[in-house]
């Protein structure tokens, strides 16, 4: 790997529930190189979102470490932006599209011309130049998620983190947003890490897929996706290798599934 940007070493996370420690994540080690797209997949309830919250500094790490550009992450790092799944609740309904995108730039104290340019470029690259004066609630779900992505782009993070970003939009929009994601990486040279529960999506988008399994969570395997670039929604997905990778990941997830908890007797 060239130039590792994000390093996760023996990361574990426990919550204290009614005085007892419940371990969610046992021991995760992986890294993400600059300019890479890495997906994190795993059975539901495995702690994918918890992992993202640890990596974006929203939650503390119990033991082990996560570092970005060599610096330990102990709060939201300025090199990162996060896009949530629930776009309706992560955009400010009282701000127009343009002001939503501009909000994180205020305290960066950029010259006005640069802030303007960043907002303009971000909205243009998600195809929302026409919607600057609208409010989020006047837009469809897919467009709202684009606003959230534009907000992240204007912030110019080195690493863009997304938590199931396309889970709440229709299939057609999802394809568009996936391609937008690839375009962003090429255009802005960003590193992208996303959590998804859609195996096809992880294969289509990623350079590598980190498969989590078991409880508490460990890395089951890191799968290299060596599909040719540029990816194409129709031809890439029709490839034989695509199907093989999907099957491989599917089997890994099934093997790492959390067994159903026996119902506790009263």
């Amino acid at each position: 790997m060239t130039n590792t940007q994000l390093v996760v070493e023996h990361l574990s996370k426990s919550y204290s529930v009614k005085g007892a420690d419940v371990q969610i994540i046992a021991d995760l080690t992986f890294d993400v190189a600059a300019g890479e797209i890495v997906s994190i997949v795993g059975p539901s309830g495995i702690g994918k979102t918890t992992l993202l919250k640890c990596l974006t500094g929203l939650q503390s790490i119990t033991s082990g470490s996560a570092r970005i550009d060599g610096k330990p992450i102990d709060g939201p790092p300025e090199e990162m932006a996060l896009v949530f799944q629930e776009y309706t609740r992560s955009l400010m309904p009282w701000l127009t599209v343009e002001k939503n995108v501009r909000l994180p730039l205020k305290h960066l104290r950029l010259p006005k011309s640069e802030a303007d340019e960043r907002v303009r470029a971000a909205l243009a690259s998600v195809g929302l130049s026409q919607a600057v004066d609208r409010f989020p609630w006047q837009l469809s779900g897919g467009m709202q998620q684009r606003v959230a992505i534009a907000r992240a782009l204007a912030y110019r993070p080195e690493v863009l983190v997304m938590d199931e970003p396309f889970a709440s939009v229709d299939a057609q929009t999802r394809f568009e947003l996936e391609d937008l994601c690839l375009k962003i990486r090429d255009e802005f040279g960003m590193t992208i890490m996303l959590v998804t529960h859609d195996i096809d999506e992880s294969v289509y988008l990623s350079d590598r897929v980190v498969v989590l399994g078991h409880r508490p969570a460990i890395v089951t395997r890191i799968v290299d996706i060596d599909l040719p670039e540029p990816r194409d929604q129709i031809s890439t997905r029709a490839m034989h290798e695509f199907a093989e990778l999907r099957t491989e990941i599917f089997e890994l997830i099934r093997a790492g599934a959390i067994p159903a908890q026996p119902v506790q007797g009263k």
């Binding site: 974006t56 500094g57 929203l58 939201p76 300025e78 990162m80 932006a81 996060l82 949530f84 629930e86 609740r89 992560s90 400010m92 309904p93 009282w94 701000l95 909000l103 994180p104 205020k106 305290h107 243009a124 690259s125 195809g127 929302l128 130049s129 026409q130 919607a131 609208r134 409010f135 609630w137 006047q138 837009l139 469809s140 467009m143 907000r151 912030y155 568009e176 391609d179 937008l180």
Partner: protein, 279 residues
């Protein structure tokens, strides 16, 4: 992709709904104006020949209204009442909103002050008026103080609730983008709480109005409340009614101003609600 059309089903549906609402507007407007006019006409003609000493003809009340308030006593009694009311209400909103934000943001502060807030707000301010007057005299200050004190609580309590109910995901977004404390307050907490702040402020407005009148009925020599009480005490029934009519008009105007301000400040909220109900 770069020229994605800016339309969506939500926008279209909202537009359709707005169109329907527009076509119904003339009828609604006619009702809104027509019903009060009809009631007034009924009162006017129904009371024309009234000899009941307590319910004089509306014609006489209007004449008395004109004689008293337009503009004989306007500067001496109406303006000071309105001045007290507006000043005290603005003070109440300023204190209520800032204290509410503080208590909404700080749990320890909330725990310390909430019992006091709950205790003081459960005493009707009108009941405290005799004490205020006894300790502070009959001046204007005592009335401003009483109005402000009574009307702080609705806006204070709804501000606390509004701040505490701010969407957690927006707060996480603010943390990820490292917004400063001040930015979080100005760009997230206050706008997020504003619908509730306005709901509380409307209740405060009504409380302020009530206390304004009541405070003038206790020992004040000037003011709408004082004159109305004086009229009642001297069997000047027409004068009493004229005062009541004036209070009705002022209350209506206060609500109207409030509604206009709210509509401007909460345009985003009203729009979002309309869009949500169109779905």
């Amino acid at each position: 992709m770069s020229t994605a059309p800016v339309t969506s089903t939500t926008v279209i549906r909202t537009a359709a709904k707005a169109k329907r609402a527009r076509s119904r507007r003339p009828m609604l407007l006619a009702l809104e104006i027509g019903v009060p006019v009809l009631l007034l006409l009924a009162w006017w003609f129904g009371s024309l020949n009234s000899t009941d000493p307590f319910f004089p003809p509306l014609r006489d009340i209007v004449a008395e209204f004109q004689r008293l308030w337009l503009f004989d006593k306007f500067a001496s009694d109406v303006l000071p009442s309105i001045g007290n009311f507006v000043l005290a209400y603005l003070i109440a909103c300023a204190i209520g909103i800032s204290l509410g934000i503080l208590l909404g943001l700080s749990k320890p502060l909330f725990w310390i002050l909430d019992p006091i807030v709950q205790f003081v707000r459960s005493i009707p301010a009108v009941a405290l008026l005799p004490i205020f007057i006894a300790t502070m005299g009959f001046g204007n200050e005592v009335r401003v103080f009483a109005i402000a004190l009574a009307s702080i609580f609705p806006v204070l309590i709804s501000t606390i609730d509004g701040v505490r109910a701010a969407e957690p995901l927006l707060l996480e977004t603010a943390r990820v983008y490292r917004l400063t404390r001040w930015e979080r307050l100005r760009d997230i907490y206050i706008p997020a709480a504003s619908p509730q702040i306005f709901a509380g402020a409307l209740v405060s407005l009504q409380v302020a109005f009530i206390v304004m009148i009541t405070s003038e009925m206790m020992g004040a020599a000037r003011g709408i409340g004082a004159l109305t009480l004086l009229a009642q005490g001297s069997f000047d029934v027409k004068g009493m009614w004229a005062g009541i009519v004036l209070l009705g008009i002022l209350g209506y105007l206060a609500n109207l101003v409030f509604t206009l301000v709210r509509r401007r400040a909460l345009a985003w909220y009203l729009g979002a609600q309309k869009a949500a109900s169109a779905d």
